[in-house]
């Protein structure tokens, strides 16, 4: 058993890990929550889109390391990895929406149909990556970009530069999204469609374009999260999207699905819960704890923490 002073000693360190992981979960969760807010659909393939992002980042990093074209400074390397990863995953999101989901909605599909389609897309992406890149895990050369020596010690808590960069990039992307959604015409259209799509259509909003944009933005954020997770765990494989996607979905539900700020909050909460469960309960049960929390939230507060009381037809 741990004594109180020991617990207090480990706690800040674990909180830092938890919050870092949490911002990344939040980043993925935004993709789920935005799509859900508009289509009432769980984009099951979103976790795999995140995985593809990690692979694109890995490929770019490999090319940069091999070619010595640019100095290995995070300020230069990170954007060079993030932009292609986000563009690629955004395009995949667009393609999925256009080819796999929209035809179903056009035919008046029930809710089961698109979900099955999304499961199909998830299996397709996973195995597509496996066929192209092989089943073995790939290694992110994190320490070539973020040397191990880059650590700070603040009040007994040791924080690496990587952790700070991850939290900052994730925070910046979330802030950017917040500005787009709250301040621009596009953002207003997104909010209008989420509120009442028929009314929005009547008011002249191009609903399908908004849906496509939502898929693009959500998938791009997922792709960015893939790069950050790759750096953090230093290993990626074609199956990584499954559990990360589940966690992120949990985060989205935890915060209140359909609510973008809720997704961020839920992500951080889940990251902290998971990191505490790893330290204080049992590492083997950390996923079980995360899903247990999800089930408890759904049973006792189905709207999530920040979720408003939805009208009946909107509720799941």
């Amino acid at each position: 058993m741990l004594t109180w002073s020991q617990i207090l000693g480990i706690l800040p360190q674990q909180l830092v890990f938890g919050i870092t992981l949490g911002t990344v979960y939040g980043l993925i969760a935004i993709g789920y929550t935005m799509v859900y807010g508009i289509l009432f659909m769980i984009n099951f393939a979103h976790g795999d889109i995140f995985m593809v992002g990690a692979y694109v980042g890995w490929a770019v990093l490999g090319a940069l390391l091999a070619s010595h074209a640019v100095p290995l400074n995070p300020v230069i390397v990170l954007p060079l990895m993030l932009v292609p990863a986000m563009a690629f995953t955004g395009a995949i999101g667009l393609a999925l929406e256009r080819l796999a989901y929209r035809p179903l909605y056009r035919r008046g599909a029930t809710r089961l149909g698109p979900l099955i389609s999304a499961i199909g897309a998830s299996i397709f992406l996973q195995n597509g990556v496996m066929l192209v890149e092989g089943a073995r895990e790939r290694v992110y050369m994190t320490y070539a970009v973020f040397p191990r020596a880059w650590r700070f010690s603040v009040g007994g808590v040791s924080v690496s530069a990587l952790v700070i960069v991850i939290a900052c990039v994730a925070g910046l992307l979330m802030w950017g999204l917040h500005v787009i959604v709250q301040r621009t015409t596009l953002g207003r259209a997104i909010r209008a469609v989420a509120e009442d799509r028929e009314m929005a259509a009547v008011m002249g909003v191009n609903v399908w374009r908004v849906v496509a944009t939502t898929f693009f933005v959500g998938s791009a954020l997922g792709g960015a999260a893939g790069v950050l997770v790759g750096f953090y765990y230093t290993q990626i494989d074609f199956f990584m999207g499954y559990s990360a996607g589940l966690k992120a979905f949990t985060a989205a539900v935890l915060g209140g699905i359909g609510n973008i700020r809720g997704a961020m909050l839920g992500g951080i909460l889940l990251g902290v819960i998971e990191s505490l469960a790893t330290t204080f309960i049992n590492p083997a049960f950390k996923d079980a704890v995360a899903f247990g929390v999800l089930i408890l939230v759904l049973v006792f507060r189905p709207g999530g923490i920040l979720g408003e009381a939805l009208p009946d037809w909107k509720r799941i």
Partner: protein, 328 residues
């Protein structure tokens, strides 16, 4: 539709002759697996096809059934219950676990239920793999081995052909039960809930009770299936019960046609047999499978043999209930 019933019995009777005709044990093993998965798919069909509840953690019940049988008929706890008793225990245990999972979660609709069941499936897997310490219950990652084969009056099953008869018997029972259930009072209640839950509730159907029944009955089919798997493999491991297995079973239900009994069996046959036929393309199997699921949903959203109820399946009216944006 009397001919359908005769066709079913004729198929069953001709299946009885299979072990005499089939050339080798390997093919017999594949056919036996088709029976096992048909049983599982029929169980999931009760939940997904009849009641319209999406269960993504169905494999959990399969696992619970397997482990209950393994615990009751192996040296793990020194218990060696006779097969029928252990089967009964496994079926009861899974039905109860179906109720326990269903009771708090069935208030949730559609996708939420799907995610909760998925989480439940994951938790079950994590428990199976970790419950070997501090007390060894499940045997952890190395599972439970040297499980008793089914035996009656001292005569134990050995060959795949012999197992086949047992599996066929249970699968046949599942088909009969499914048909009885579908045409029963609760079966109609399920279909009413599937079509429109609010309307069903208004008509005086106790939707919570009906959904719980669907969950428990579907789970108990998986319990029987788990029992068969454990007694056939003579061993159980957590990796028999991965999420992909849930997806496979779901795909069987959807591929053949949600709610249609011949469709479900056709789906199970295709999904078990295809990888065996295309062994050389094993790598591309899942890739093609994912693609197929997407294409199928676009061109045949209701499956190959879509359910033909007494109310003939008709085009969905373009109602307001659609969960889709009515784009311009």
């Amino acid at each position: 539709m009397r001919w359908k019933r005769y066709a079913g019995w004729a198929a069953f009777a001709s299946a009885l002759a299979l072990p005499a005709v089939v050339p080798n044990a390997y093919v017999m093993g594949v056919i036996t697996r088709i029976c096992l998965y048909s049983l599982l798919a029929l169980g999931l069909n009760v939940v997904v096809g009849f009641a319209g509840l999406l269960d993504l953690g169905y494999v959990a019940f399969f696992g619970i059934g397997s482990y209950v049988y393994a615990a009751l008929a192996s040296p793990q706890f020194g218990l060696h219950l006779p097969f029928p008793l252990a089967l009964l225990a496994a079926v009861l245990a899974t039905a109860v676990s179906g109720l326990l999972i269903g009771a708090p979660t069935l208030r949730l609709r559609g996708d939420y239920l799907a995610i909760v069941t998925l989480g439940f499936g994951e938790i079950t897997y994590i428990l199976l793999i970790n419950l070997d310490r501090p007390i060894n219950i499940t045997g952890g990652p190395s599972g439970i081995v040297s499980i008793d084969p089914p035996s009656l009056l001292g005569y134990a099953l050995r060959t795949n052909g012999q197992y086949f008869y047992l599996f066929l018997l249970l699968m046949g029972t599942a088909v009969l039960l499914s048909r009885r259930l579908r045409d029963s009072r609760v079966g109609w209640a399920w279909q009413a809930i599937r079509e429109d839950e609010l309307a069903a509730q208004t008509m005086g159907i106790n939707t919570t009770a009906a959904k719980l029944q669907a969950f428990a009955i579907g789970a108990s089919f998986a319990g029987a299936g788990g029992c068969l798997l454990a007694s056939w493999q003579r061993s159980v491991f957590p990796d028999n019960f991965l999420f992909t297995e849930s997806v496979n079973i779901l795909a069987m239900v959807i591929l053949g046609g949600v709610g249609s009994l011949p469709g479900v069996i056709l789906g199970a046959t295709i999904i078990v047999a295809l990888p065996e036929v295309f062994r050389d393309f094993a790598l591309y199997r899942l890739f093609a499978f994912g693609l197929l699921l997407m294409v199928l949903m676009i061109f045949r959203p209701n499956g190959l043999l879509a359910f033909q109820g007494r109310r003939e399946a008709e085009e969905e009216p373009p109602g307001e209930e659609r969960a889709a944006p009515s784009g311009p």
